[in-house]
Amino acid sequence: MSIVSNLLLLTLLGVLLNVIFYKSEVVQKYISLIIFAILTYLSIVMYPLVGSHFEIPFLIAGQHIGFTITYLNYYFALMITGITLLTVIFSLKFIKGKEGNTHYYTVLFLKTFGMLGVILSSDLLTFFVFWEIMSWSTFALMSTGGEPAHRSAFKYFVFAVTASMILMAGVILSYSLFGSFDFAVIHGKMASLSLPMTGFLLTIFITSFSIESAVFPVHSWLPDGYSNTFTTFTAYLSGISTRIGIYGIILFLFGVFGIQTVDKLGIIGKINFRYVFGIFAALTMIVPTFTALYQHDAKKLIAWHSVGQGGYMLIGLASGSALGIAGGMFHVLNHMAYVVLIVFAIASVEYRTGTTNLNKLGGLIKKMPVSYLALLFGIIGLAGLPPMNGFVSKWFIYRALILGGYPFLAIAAVIGTLGTILSVYKLIHNMFLGQLPERYNDVKEVGFSMQLPMWILMIVVLGLGVYPGLAMGLIAKIQVSLGLAAVPYALHGIKAASGQLDMLVVSAVFIGGIAVTWIIYLLGNRRKHVGQYNNYAGGNFLNKSVAYNFNYEFYAALEHVIDPYRKKIIERTERGIASVTDAVSEYIRRIYTGMINTYGIYVVTAFVVTIIILKELI
């Protein structure tokens, strides 16, 4: 009892204190720092309590608010509190004096409260209550940042409220089917449910969570929503917020419904529920990743990748094999680590230069080396190259897809990775490489409190890449607790019969390869250090007065190739739905003509219609 209630009460206390001290930023930030440190500590030491169940003696609809600690939610609780702590440390300086930061920590606490409640809940109703709190606070997070943020947050809200209502329908439908909200009870009775009904129920839940985790056709709220707010919030939201949707999918696919039940939901031949889900996941990998190429804003670019990387997690889960599921779950952690690292690097650049526009930046490598290193680590992770953590989880996923007999999905994953590499190269090039614009000559590296989270995350990204066993231990336990086969792991990788992965070897080969290349490069001795303007273009020498910028329209040629395939179907559909809703409401409100005579006629019409209908009923 104590730890769970302490966790939740402390976050509530955080909300309260921040509301009380809304005028003093200093008080706010130290309160938040202390409380989040305690929260992180509490969620780490929660480990011995795994398997226990708590209830808060408060009735909702005849049901206590129940919490349980499992390996799965322990994993997520660690991620939530850890990443929030890092975000707070980073924010100490970052948000200082920014407009609209009065309620920064308040919404952060509220959001953490919602997320912790969602993952710790042991029954549907508690889950739903916290889910709602979480959605509303996500909306609040997204709203900070002026007019464009309001618009994109509004878009999120439309999706989120739809997801909530779908979830509510699912919650109550399962209550009326099983007579209980409790996950364990529902899981126990699942076998007695007819297959079509199971499919219907699962579809309801998965649809709802897919909206929250931005799966392909319903992802369009995310990029704008995440990138228009504070950059630290972009990190926080991309890192963990979307992944609560993934948590829901893991919980319901494997925990509540169970993989055996899910596998029974066949459609035609080999095409079953998981396969269809996998196709959506594949689309989520490809489409947003290539859209990311087009972005001129670093935050937006990363936000699109947030969507795309979600596809990898989902496709891993959809593969249904131990390896794939482990990969999917591991990728949640990995993605969180490197994406937050990337966004922190972007935020550092923004902190010093005031912009995240990729067409305007460049050449900052010598000015901000730590941020550069952070971004480098992050994008290697994002692109899924060794020796960073992203490689490991993506390797699991590819492997699982090939072994499971989903070659098309595997190809899709590879295509997605290609797009990722292209776009992250644009990111690092346009920010740190190339020419340094004159106006950034006196830019400095960020201070210690902003460097610290980046260093920690760099260690995590590299550490999990070389020693994936650190996380695999917990993931194997989660798999066992969900009734799945566990992946046999070692500290350096996995030791399955189907294939081995030793990250020490891989890293050594990789680093060796780089070293060899470097040596060859040095031996070639073709390089020469020149000044930034010792260069020419179009036969003319460049000087300070010529604004020659490689970064502008970086992938113009590539975009030209992709353009014909971009149909913007989603955007058009969404706009269509919006205008249909508008038209419907416009027609309906014209019923109220304003002319009293017609109103009288309505009464008599209603009278006659009622008689005609009720005559049949009585």
């Binding site: 109220y592 304003g594 009293i596």
Partner: protein, 121 residues
């Protein structure tokens, strides 16, 4: 009267006619005053209907002070009480309606409902 046209039939027909006529006026007339007249007609129709429910053939008015009149010889007094109430309410509503319409006319300068559509949709 006997046979085909009983008192109840006449009264029921009259009341139905008055109600339908009154409502018809309300629906078709665009002049607010005429609409109030229509409402009054319909109201009268309902009152006729109410009175007719208490009618017992051959009986007389329920006046207890009249010597020699048995209860069994009287018509039902309850509907008459109801009708009195209803008439008073109807009177009140009509008066209020006309008062409001006068004020509305002062503000808008018209009684035409198709022109008084400041509130719509």
């Amino acid at each position: 009267m006997n046979g085909i046209l009983s008192v109840s039939t006449v009264l029921n027909t009259a009341s139905a006619g008055l109600i339908v006529l009154g409502l018809y006026i309300v629906f078709t007339q665009k002049n607010l005053i005429k609409m109030v007249i229509g409402l009054d007609l319909a109201d009268t129709g309902v009152n006729v209907l109410l009175v007719s429910t208490g009618y017992i053939k051959g009986n007389t008015a329920p006046i207890f002070s009249k010597a020699g009149l048995q209860v069994s010889q009287m018509v039902d007094p309850v509907p008459q009480a109801l009708v009195l109430t209803s008439i008073v309410i109807g009177f009140g509503v009509s008066a209020l309606a006309l008062a409001l319409i006068i004020r509305l006319y002062q503000k808008t300068g018209t009684l035409d409902t198709s022109k008084i559509r400041g509130l719509k949709w």
